[in-house]
Amino acid sequence: MYVKQISVFIENTPGRLADFTKVLADHGIDLVSLSIADTTHFGILRGIVADPDRACRILAEQGYTAKLTDVLAVYVPDKPGGLAAILSKLAEKNVALEYLYSFVRNAGDHALIIMRVDKLEDAVSVLRDAGVRMLTQEDIQTL
């Protein structure tokens, strides 16, 4: 029920992100989802790709510090209150959300939201019980 997110350390200086995306382009790596958390000095780029292990290996070879993290890819009804209903379920079970961001593409009447939570297994069972659909890593590859 998890998908693997790749997180990459990017220095907050002009050109660094351009360099990074060029590496992706040269190796045919497609980001199906993307977010960047930034501080004054650095940013953490987080993304979902079809083959995270390969992407991680290639980035390491190119000198990047990258890390894989299990996250949830959740189908959220694309209407007012859709996200609220899901987040309140998680809150009821004391699952804390570290961050979330949405997919570049959507799926019909649903938005795809990436969620990083502290208690992964609890979150999965809560959402599953509530009938919320989640993507698996295999699903990502066929997106």
């Binding site: 350390f9 990017i10 958390a37 390491a60 000198g63 990047y64 510090t65 990258a66 890390k67």
Partner: protein, 432 residues
């Protein structure tokens, strides 16, 4: 110009008499360390000499050098020459790695230090009519207490405010009517600018004794103009005593080394003493210290000496401004910092030493030190809070090992410059 001299007998002693006194005191200290400090006894035995072989200053080159590393090897009290019951004060400065450099003083040492700082106060025309604001740090650092005891000895009213808290410094300068200031030159400039920013153009300040870090004639002119004072340069290091090893008189042409207590040499790259006027590694033998006497201690400060007579009437040799270091020590806001300490601090956090670089700048008047660290894969996290926690951990480790606040910047692996396979560790952008 009138020159006030605290101890004319000693400070203006004819040089031949001074030399005879040094001969006698050198024989005494050599005997004391030989008898009481195994490190020196072993060294002298290895060199095949006994105290009897040292007739006086003419034999100084027969004695062994002492390096900062020797202090570290005998940490904490191994070079003390008296029982602990005789030690009344312990100071420490940053060592080259991890452990600090420790010095111990007997009651007599503290008394002599106060005497030399009293001479230094008079050199800067500070006496009993003055209110002295001591804005050097108090504590293990020798600056605060050194200046404090000297100012008390001349009968001045001492304000032991210690370093930092600029708002309070300005308040006391104005409300207490401080007439003299003791601090680092960069902090003096900082205070001067803060006073101007508050629209204060007149204070009662008339002199300042500034040291513990390198500065320039241009900085002196600026401090003197902005504060309307005489800015006097002072030199010292805790291993030898603390501030007051040497100080300028009002002529401001080099710092008089108190030669009745310290025997200076300037050592060239070949390990031999250089004549007056030539630049080399300043080296001191403490002639009168009892707690922790040192023979031929290499300061690694590059400077020259002159024995030309000074207009003030003092006969003691003068040293020029320190022109650099013969090792990689940095002085950041008055604190001695070695790259090896930073390396040690990083090792404590990460378990290995990552690629790093130290960038030192002077922004405004204060030194800033940024440690750029290439991020190790093991410490990569997908959350900002983890990464900021890592930065904070490194900042704290550097603060506790190098006793200095640094900012830390995590960098992508491979981005810090490397030269000939070895990284360039220090970029010092200060224009001094």
């Amino acid at each position: 110009m009138e020159h006030r001299i605290w101890n004319p007998t000693m400070e203006c002693m004819p040089r031949d008499q001074l030399r005879a006194l040094q001969d006698e005191r050198l024989r005494d200290v050599v005997r004391r360390v030989y008898e009481n400090v195994p490190f020196y006894r072993n060294k002298m035995q290895q060199m095949g000499i006994t105290p009897m072989d040292i007739r006086g200053v003419c034999d100084i080159e027969r004695l062994p050098f002492t390096e900062k590393q020797d202090l570290r090897d005998h940490y904490p009290f191994g070079l003390f020459a008296v029982p602990q019951t005789e030690i009344v004060r312990i100071h420490a400065s940053s060592g080259t790695t991890g452990k600090p450099t420790v010095v111990g003083y007997t009651g007599g040492d503290i008394d002599r230090w106060a005497e030399l700082m009293a001479r230094s106060m008079y050199c800067a025309n500070i006496g009993k009519h003055d209110i002295v604001q001591v804005a050097y740090g108090y504590g293990l650092f020798t600056g605060g207490l050194g200046a404090h005891y000297g100012a008390e000895r001349v009968g001045a009213s001492v304000i032991p405010i210690s370093g930092g808290n600029t708002t309070r410094q300005l308040l006391l300068i104005q409300d207490f009517g401080s007439t003299a200031l003791c601090c680092t030159p960069s902090y003096a400039l900082n205070l001067a600018e803060a006073l101007q920013a508050e629209g204060v153009h007149h204070t009662k300040l008339k002199s300042g004794i500034f040291g513990a870090e390198p500065w320039t004639e241009a900085m002196r002119e600026k401090i003197e103009e902005m504060l309307g004072i005489d800015a006097i340069n002072i030199y010292g290091l805790s291993e030898v005593m603390g501030p007051g090893v040497s100080v300028e008189c009002m002529c401001k042409k080099g710092m008089h080394i108190w030669e009745d207590h310290f025997l200076p040499e300037v050592i060239g790259p070949d390990g031999h003493g250089l004549p007056y006027g030539e630049q080399g590694d300043l080296t001191f033998t403490t002639l009168t210290k009892h707690g922790m006497p040192l023979l031929r201690y290499r300061t690694h400060d590059l400077c020259t000496l002159t024995d030309e007579p000074c207009e003030c009437g003092r006969t003691h040799v003068r040293m020029g401004r320190v022109m650099g270091r013969t090792d990689d020590m940095l002085i950041i806001r008055g604190v001695n910092v070695f790259p090896s300490q930073v390396e040690h601090a990083l090792l404590q956090v990460e378990g290995i030493v990552p690629q790093y670089q130290i960038v030192v700048e002077r922004s405004g008047n204060l030194d800033t030190m940024e440690v750029q660290v290439e991020l190790s894969p093991a410490f990569m996290s997908d959350t900002v809070k983890d990464m900021e926690a890592l930065e904070a951990k490194i900042v704290n480790s550097i603060a506790s090992h190098a006793l200095v606040h640094a900012t830390v910047k995590l960098c992508q692996p491979g981005t810090l410059p490397r030269s000939e396979g070895k990284a360039k560790r220090v970029i010092d952008k200060r224009q001094l």
